[in-house]
Point group: D2
C-alpha cells in the first residue's frame, strides 16, 4: 500500500474542538489524508465543514451511516480505509460498531463509550474482526512518558511505592453550561451525552490511564470522594481519590474542573525504592529523575540518550518544543503503521504502541468503580 491511508471523519464540524486536533494530528506526518466526512448530524453544517476542508462535495455525507455504506461501495483504490470518530460520548458506540462491522479500522476519541456495557459489547464486536482500533488517550504518546515507562520497566527507580497523579483544570469554575454559548461545557456536563461521570470521565480517565501505563501496575482498589461544587451542575466537577496498586504501592489521583486558574495541568510523580520520576504535561519535553543521594537529573527530548520508544516519538532536535498536537500525530502515525503491518501480515512494532479497546474497557470500569465508591460514601472499592 504505497499510498497515504484514507481517513473518513465522523463529527468534528468547524465549531468543535477535538475534531480539528484529530485532523491536524492525522495530517502532521504525511501518512494519512482526509478523504471524506460526516461532520455533523446537521447536513448543512457537515457540508460547510467539508467545503472548508476542500473536500469534494460527493464525499461529504449527511450522516455517518450514509458515509459508511456509500464508502463501502467505492472501489478499493478510492474508498476510505478507516474512520476517526470525534463526536460526543453518546455517539461513540453506534458508529464504531457500524464501522467495524463494515470492515473499517477505527480511531475513537476517549472515553470509549457512554457506559461500560457498550464498551464490553464493542470489545466483542472488535474481537471478531481483524481490524485495528485506536483509542486516543493521547497523553501517553509524549516521548517523556515513553521514557518514564522505560525507566520503570528497566528498574531504574526500583519497585514503585507511591504514585501521585493530578489533573486540575479550572474552566468549569462557574456555571458556563446550559446557555448554549459553550458547546464543550454543554455536552460534557450533560449525563445524556457525557455519561454518568463528568470530570472523572473526561479527564480522570486520562490520569488513570497515564498512571497505569507508566508504572505498568494495575490499580486494584480505590476510594473516591466526588463533588459538584457549582450549583446547577449535573455531573461531578471535582474528584479526590486514594489508590492501591497491585504490587502494594499506594497513590493519590485527583482531577478537577474547578481549580480556578489551572489550565490543563496533568502531571505525575512516581517514587520507587531507588529513585523518583516527575513529569508535567504542560512542560512535556522534560522528565526529572530524582535521587535522594545523587540529586536530580534532567532528561530532555533530543538531549539525553533515551530509549528507542522515546526517540521515535520525538520529531525535533533539542530545544525546539513539541506539544499537544504531536501526541495525536503519534497516535495516528502508530495506527497507520499498525494498519500497514496488518495488511503486510507483520507483527506491529512494540515501540510504536497506542491505546486500544482494552484501555477503553478499563477506563469505563474505572468510571464505574469511582462512581460506586462515591455513592457508597467514599469507601474502599475493588477495581477489577
Amino acid at each position: 500500500m504505497a499510498r497515504k491511508l484514507r481517513m473518513g471523519m465522523i463529527g468534528g464540524s468547524l465549531d468543535a474542538f477535538i475534531g480539528a486536533v484529530h485532523r491536524r494530528g492525522a495530517a502532521l506526518d504525511g501518512e494519512i489524508e482526509l478523504v471524506c466526512g460526516a461532520f455533523s448530524s446537521n447536513p448543512e453544517k457537515s457540508k460547510a465543514t467539508g467545503e472548508a476542508l476542500y473536500l469534494p462535495a460527493e464525499r461529504v455525507y449527511g450522516s455517518y451511516e450514509e458515509m459508511i455504506l456509500k464508502e463501502k461501495e467505492l472501489p478499493e483504490g478510492e474508498r476510505m480505509d478507516f474512520v476517526a470518530i470525534v463526536t460526543p460520548n453518546h455517539v461513540h458506540f453506534p458508529p464504531a460498531k457500524m464501522a467495524l462491522e463494515n470492515g473499517f479500522h477505527v480511531v475513537l476519541d476517549k472515553p470509549i463509550t457512554l457506559n461500560r456495557a457498550e464498551a464490553e459489547e464493542l470489545k466483542k464486536i472488535w474481537e471478531k474482526t481483524n481490524l485495528v482500533f485506536c483509542l486516543t488517550h493521547n497523553y501517553t504518546a509524549y516521548p517523556m512518558v515513553k521514557e518514564a515507562r522505560h525507566l520503570i520497566r528497566t528498574g531504574v527507580i526500583g519497585k514503585v511505592r507511591k504514585v501521585i497523579v493530578e489533573y486540575p483544570q479550572g474552566w468549569l469554575y462557574k456555571l458556563v453550561e446550559g446557555a448554549g454559548t459553550n458547546r464543550q461545557a454543554d455536552w460534557r456536563t450533560d449525563p445524556a451525552r457525557s455519561g454518568a461521570a463528568g470530570g472523572v470521565g473526561d479527564i480522570g480517565t486520562h490520569a488513570e490511564n497515564l498512571a497505569e501505563y507508566i508504572t505498568g501496575l494495575k490499580i486494584t482498589e480505590l476510594l473516591a470522594d466526588l463533588s459538584i461544587f457549582v450549583e446547577g451542575r449535573r455531573l461531578d466537577d471535582d474528584a479526590n481519590m486514594l489508590l492501591h496498586f497491585e504490587n502494594g504501592a499506594k497513590g493519590i489521583l485527583h482531577n478537577s474542573q474547578i481549580c480556578h486558574g489551572e489550565e490543563n495541568d496533568l502531571n505525575i510523580r512516581i517514587y520507587g525504592e531507588l529513585g523518583g520520576l516527575k513529569w508535567r504535561q504542560m512542560e512535556p519535553n522534560t522528565l526529572l529523575l530524582l535521587n535522594q543521594d545523587t540529586g536530580t537529573k534532567v532528561i530532555r527530548t533530543g538531549v539525553n540518550a533515551v530509549s528507542r520508544a522515546a526517540q521515535v516519538h520525538t520529531r525535533q532536535p533539542a530545544g525546539h518544543p513539541e506539544g499537544y498536537v504531536e501526541t495525536f500525530a503519534s497516535l495516528y502515525r502508530n495506527f497507520a503503521k499498525a494498519v500497514r503491518a496488518k495488511e503486510a501480515g507483520e507483527e506491529p512494532d512494540p515501540d510504536f504502541d497506542f491505546p486500544g479497546i482494552e484501555e477503553g474497557v478499563r477506563g469505563m470500569a474505572f468510571i464505574d468503580t469511582v462512581l460506586k465508591s462515591n455513592a457508597d460514601g467514599a469507601v474502599w472499592t475493588k477495581f477489577e
Copy 2:
C-alpha cells in the same frame, strides 16, 4: 525592659539539628540573648556545647531541672526570662510543665508533646499562668503565608472549595535508623521518643497546621491511609489523606519520608470561587494568585503591595532571598514582642502572631484522628 530577653535552652547539643536553628533564629533580630542551657542529659555534652557557645561555665547545667531551679534563684536582672525546649518529643512535656510552674515563658518545638493527654494537661497548666507560650510551627511565619491568609480573609479568592497540601521528603527512603549513625532518624522513628506517629507527627502536623492557618477553616473529618514502606521501620513513613473542611471544602493532605529525591517540599494550593493560591516552601518568597480569566499574578516579597502582616515578616528588599532561619527568627521576635507586651500590660499586636498551646493540642488531636482512621481501615473519621 530595655534589654534583650534572656533565653535558657533545653536540648540542642552540638550534634543536634533543631537546636542550632533555634539559636540562630533567636539571635537574628537582636531581641534575645542565650544566657544559659541544659543542652544534653549527658553533662559532658552539655558542658562542651556551652563552651562552644561561649557561655560561662556556671550557666551550663547538667539537667533542665537544675537549670530551672537554679535560674529561678538568680536575681531578676540576671536570670533567664524563658526556656526554649528543643529536645525529642518525649522530653517536651516534663520541662515545659516545670518551666511554666516556675514562672518561665516557654518556646517549644513541635509537636507539642508525646501524646494528646500530655498536651491537654499542659494546656491546663498554662491556663493557670500569665505566661507566654510559643510552639514553633515555623512555616506559618513566612511572609507569603501571611499574605495568603490575608488574601483569603479579605475574600480575594472567595469561598474556599479545594485545598491540596503536600509534604514530601525522601530522607527515610531506606532504613537509616537503628545503627546509631543518624541521630535524627533514630529518635524520630522510635515510638518511645517520637510518639505513636512517625511522619504524620513530624511533618504531617505542619501540613495540617499550614492548611488550617491559611484558610482559617477547620478540618472536620478525614480519612487516612498510612504505610510503612521500609522494612524494619516502626512508625509510618507515608500518609495519604482526604479531608473535609467545615465550610464544605474538600482536600487532600499527603506527607511522606520515602519520596526518593524530595527534599522538604511542603506546599499548598487553595482554590476558591473567585481564584486560586499556590505557595511552595522551597521557593518561599513567591505566592501565585491564579485566576481563570485574567491569568496568574506573581506576588513577591518586597515587590507587590502586601498586607502589614506580610510586611512585618519580611526583612530584605526584593530579590534578596529569605528562607528557613527567618521563620524561626520571626517566631522568636514575635514571642519577644508578646512577652514585652504582657509585661507592659498591653494587648499583643495581631500581625505579629505565632502558634501557641491551642495549635499544639490540635496537632495532637490530628495525630490521634489520623491513627484512628488508619487503624479502622482507612475510613472517614471525625476530627474534633
Copy 3:
C-alpha cells in the same frame, strides 16, 4: 480557488532536518498539499524521498530547474502554485530567482541568500512580479511574540530602553563537522555553502529579526566580537554584540553554538519606561509582563485576553502546549492566506503577517555589519 494550495519542494530529502519541518508545517492546517518535489541534487535520493512521501513518480524531479520548467507546462488545475526552498544557503538564490521568473510564489528558508548582493538582486526580481514571498524567520510566529509586539505597540511598557536578546546553543561545542557524519554541521560550517558567517548567519539573524520585530525599532549601530572557539572550524561559533537602537535604546545580542549543554534557548527581555517583557522560545506559551511596583503578570496562550494577532496564532486551549512546528504552520497558513488574497485582489490581513524579502535583505545587511565590525577590531559600526 476552493482547493488546497499546491506546494513543490526544493531540497528536503529524507536525511535533512528542515525539510521535514516545512512539510509538517505546511500540512498542519490543511491549506496546502505537497504535489511535487526536487528533493536532492542526487536523483536517486530525490526519487526515494518522493516515494516515501507517497508522491507519484512523475512529479518527483531530478533538479529544481526541471521541476520549475515541467510544472509550468502543467494545466492550472494541476501544477504547483508555489515552491518551498529548504536547501543549504548557497542553493537559495538560484531556485528562488528561477521560481519567481517563472511565475511561482516562493517560501524560502532563512537566511535569504548566500550574501547581500544576491539578496538585493532577488529583491529587485521579486519587485517586478506580483508574487508572494515568505522567508521563514519562524520564531516571530509564536503567539506570545505577537502579543509582546502588540503590548509594545500599544504603549504598555512605554518607550523601550533596553533589549537583551540571546541565542545560545551548544551542539557545535566540539568539531563534529568534516567527518561526513553530521550533515547539518558539515554545511553550516562551510563558507561555500553557508556564507561568510557561521552562527551569526544561522541563529544570530533570528535574534536580530526577533528584536526588531517585537520592538518595532531598528538597530542603527552595533559592535560585534566574534570567535571561533573550536580548533579547525572555519566560521564563527560565538558572537557577543552591543546594540544601539534608533530611539536611543541600548541592547545586547549574543549567539553561540559552543554553550555546552544549551539546547536552543532563544530568548528576549525588553525593558521600557513603564514595564518589562520576557519571553523564552523553549517555553513559548508564556510571556511575562513585569512591573517594578505591581509585580509580574503571567500571560499565557489561551488564558489571558490577548490581541487578535496573538489569538489567530494560537490553535489549542490553555495548557495544551504548542511549539515549534506550529510556527512553521503559521507561516504557511499566513502565506496561503496572502496568496488567496492576492488572487482575489484583496489586501492581506495585517494580523496574519509573515517575514518577506525586506527581512531577508536586512538579515544579510546584519551579517555584513557584524562581520565588518569584528574585522575592524570589534568597533562600533553603522547598521543601515
Copy 4:
C-alpha cells in the same frame, strides 16, 4: 580567646538598609557580639539606634573617631575587637584607615572606597599591620558559588570559553532620588557620596567580582557602554560590557537599575570545553551543571555530594532554603575564624575564605576601566 568577638559598628542607624543586614549576619552564628557603635554622624540618631539595639549608653558614640579612640582605651577584656563599617562610600576610607592605624580589624562594605587612590592608600596602610580585613562582596559566600568555583578548579567543565554575568535591577527606573524620601537612592546616585560610578560601582563590581572569583580568571580587557536613562540622574543607571579574559575566554557583563520589574537578579553562566554552569542569586541553593551529551544535573545544597568549601557554607538540610543573610553570616563567621587563627598564630583555613583588600582594589580598578572605556566612546580598554 574563648569568647565572642566584639564588634563596633560605624554607620547603620535604624533607617539604613545594610547596617541591619550586617548586624543580623554577624549575630547569626553566635561568634560575634555587637558591643558598641557610632551609628550616625547625627548623635541623636546614633543614640536612638544604640538604645534600640540594647547597647549601654556609654558604648554609643557620637562619631567614629570618638569610638575608635575611646574603645582603644578600654581594657582588653572589654573593648571592641573590630569595626564594621556600613556607611555610604565616601565614609569608607577615613574610618577604615583610622581603625587599622589604631589596631582594630576591619569589616567594610563594598565598594571599598570612593575612588581608586583611596583604595590603594588603604592597601598600603593595611599591609603595615597584622590585622584582618574583610570586604563584604557577600555573593561569593553562597555555597553554590563555592561549588561552582570548585567544579571549575577541578576541571569539571574544562577550559572556560564564555562567561555571561548579569545584574539587572529595576528600582531606579524613575527619578526617586533627590526628594529626600528614598535614602538609598539619594546617596547611591550622588557622585559626592557614591563616587564616579553609579550602578557600576554599586552592583557592577559584584558582577565582576563574582565572575573572577568563580572562574579564577582575570578580565584583561573590556568595553563598556554606559547610560543614564532617567532624566535628572547624575550617575550611570545602565551598563553593557564585553569582556576578554586572560585565558582567551570571552564574556558579557551587564548591570542595570532601570530594568523595570527586575528585583536583584544577579546571575552567571559559564561555558567550558567540557560542560557549563548556571547559577542565579534569587534561587541560590541550586547550581546547574550542563552537558550537551548527558544533559543537566541539578546540584542542590544539602543533596549532592559537594566540596568541603560548599559544605561549610551550608547551614540547613536539603530543602530548607537559605538566603541573603546567610552570606553575610558566612563572611562574619569566616572573618572571625581568621581573627582567631591570627591570634593563635595559625594559617587561615582556605575553605573559609572571604574577599579582602585585593578584591577591593580590583573593584576600584574595574570602575576606573569601565568609566574610561565609556568616556573614550565605548572602546576596548585594558583592565590591569
